[in-house]
């Protein structure tokens, strides 16, 4: 683990406090910054909080928003719970998988996209809803998927996906 990563972890731990009650927040913050939690990250957090590594790992794997494996450049989250299912969520769900050629829970081979299922976002009134990175998009239909994906593909830093 390089010095920069260690510094990054130290900063996050300092922000929330080096105690067990801050563990979920520390891991969430690091997850947001790094995309996912590597084994080294978990070991380093455990050391700084003086907790068993197994405990930190067990917490990291318990919460669905914490990733212990790599994610793509863009993370697409979608809830396909009953309210959105009733309003055509299933077609959107399928269209996303078809468009990217992966299933939910997977990342495209080029590392551009990750599809994740999320629990209800409480936006059922404007459902189906898709979250790309941190942007929420309501009233999504299967037809809108290519246009939505293109918006993120066209980002200058993104390159051609």
């Amino acid at each position: 683990m390089n010095e920069e990563s260690i510094k990054q972890i130290a900063e996050v731990v300092a922000r929330y406090g080096a105690n067990q009650e801050s563990l979920v927040e520390i891991l969430s913050d690091l997850n947001a910054q790094l995309g996912y939690l590597t084994q080294e990250t978990i070991v380093e957090v455990a050391r700084r909080l003086n907790l068993p590594q197994s405990h930190v790992f067990s917490v990291a794997t318990f919460y669905s928003m914490l990733n212990v494996g790599p994610t793509g450049k863009h993370v697409i989250k979608m809830c396909e719970d009953a309210p959105c299912h009733l309003r055509g969520g299933q077609e959107v769900w399928q269209a996303l998988q078809d468009a990217l050629g992966i299933k939910f829970g997977e990342t495209t081979p080029d590392g551009q996209w990750t599809l994740q299922a999320t629990s209800c976002l409480g936006l059922c009134a404007v459902g189906p809803v898709v979250v790309v990175d941190d942007e929420v998009i309501g009233h999504v239909t299967a037809e809108r998927i290519p246009e939505i994906l293109a918006r993120y593909r066209d980002e200058p830093s993104g390159g051609a996906a």
């Binding site: 919460y63 914490l66 209800c120 059922c124 009134a125």
Partner: protein, 586 residues
Amino acid sequence: MTYRAQVLVGSAGEKAPAVEQALLGKIKELHLDQEIQVLEASTLGHPEQPVEIAVYPDGVHYVNVTPADAEVIVTEHLYKGRPVEPLRYREPQVEPLPAPSTKEVRVVLRNVGKIDPENIDDYIAEDGYQALAKVLTEMKPEEVIAEMKASGLRGRGGAGFPTWLKWQFARNSPGDEKYVVCNGDEGDPGAFMNRRVLEGDPHAVIEGMIIAAYVIGAHQGYFYVRAEYPIAIRTLRVAIKQAREYGLLGKDIFGSGFDFDLEVRMGAGAFVCGEETALMRSIEGERGMPTTRPPFPAVSGLWGKPTNINNVETYANVPQIIMRGGQWFASMGTEKSKGTKTFAIAGKVKRTGLIEVPLGITVREVVYDVGGGILDDKKFKAVQTGGPMGGCIPEQFLDLPVDYETLASVGSIMGSGGFVVMDEDTCMVDIARFFMEFVQDESCGKCTPCRVGTRRMLEILTDITEGRGQPGDIERLEKLGEYIKKGSLCGLGQGAPNPVLSTIKFFREEYEAHINDKKCPAKVCRALIEYTIEAEECIGCTRCARNCPVDAITGKAREPHVIDPTVCIRCGICQQVCPVGAVHVE
């Protein structure tokens, strides 16, 4: 010569001549050339959607017309006199907006949508923090409890435990170190009332929490909000900061000598953390798994200390009860369920959204008056209340009042107030499988009946919806359901079988049709339906065959087409594109 009708062809787009040729050819073929005139026009109003044609005097416009479509239009519209609806262009309509429901009574939501949630002065202008001032400067904790008792307020998180009694237990628990916790882990799919309160009026919840803390003798509070609500979290953090700047949080609030402060804790995507014991484990930095009760949080909660935990809506009611009196609150609602409640309406209704109404309103009023009725005026089938652990309420109970006891008596729960409405096109087995998938996924794995039992139930339900159901499956589901209810520690396991058990109870014939006849009456379960083309209705336009993603449709142009069921993947595209409605589902 006078023509019976004119067809205008917009000349924009390179395919216009081909469309015009197709029109003329078909018109001639059907000997309509003496009756119908074809004219070229430069544009018909929608040049972005070539090729556009318009039929007058009917005034019907068609866009994106292909030569094949043109022939269909001639046959159907000009020859038979039936406009081809799927090809028809309609101006985007300005829908008439509905009047807000007159049944709404706002207590919890009184400021939501009215004030700027990120400006504490807006809240104070609406008499905010007056209740706290009154409590801290004039009232003893016992007097607050008496007022809460008079109000009859019960927990709005779902279980409906009397709030005053919870406070009294925590107050009477020995110990100097106590905590108050706000449960903002609103995880039920279809429920978003807490998000709305947190995003729209965070100070009402904070004020309610400070009052609870004063009553039980706590000096530290935790706000647990699910990470799926980033804007609620941000708004809440701003609100707490502003309350601190005004000294409404901190030391010696209102010169009363009472100290209290508040921190926000974020969830990380675990539904079970909405259960109070699991939530407290999560705040402590553990895996959010439930623990046995007793001991209840009022005796041994956060870090083993007496803790009062209520949900967002419960706390948000408190300042109003203090200001306007318990009697006023109790004057609304039913005998055992007092006050108002927020409900989120989702699913197959015309108006989705959120509303606050007095308890005791009927299910019908919620669905029809508040929700505006069923989408596309279809037939109501059931409403699922109380989230994934609630039950489905069928049509015969539409006139029952919505209160804690009545919902329980028909196998459902109030829960946090979600209403998911289903219509005649909803398959109840599919929806039960859906909810089971949810609880199976969210089961924390601690209790074996919940961990293994929900998986077995899901397998059976999946088999039924995919045509592998066997006699005895219904009984197996019922038996497993009872075991899971009895053998699980927390509300998730105890409620997990509810959607299945209630749908079996009220829609048993749908299960039987899936298992015995291998049919899905609502025509939803793909393995149990078949798409066919009615030969007499088919005009051989080839649209279905051209759009089929797996080439399951064969047939020559102008001749009836046939779907090969062994190749068909039941995607339904053929039905959507057929201009004459010749594709049927069996």
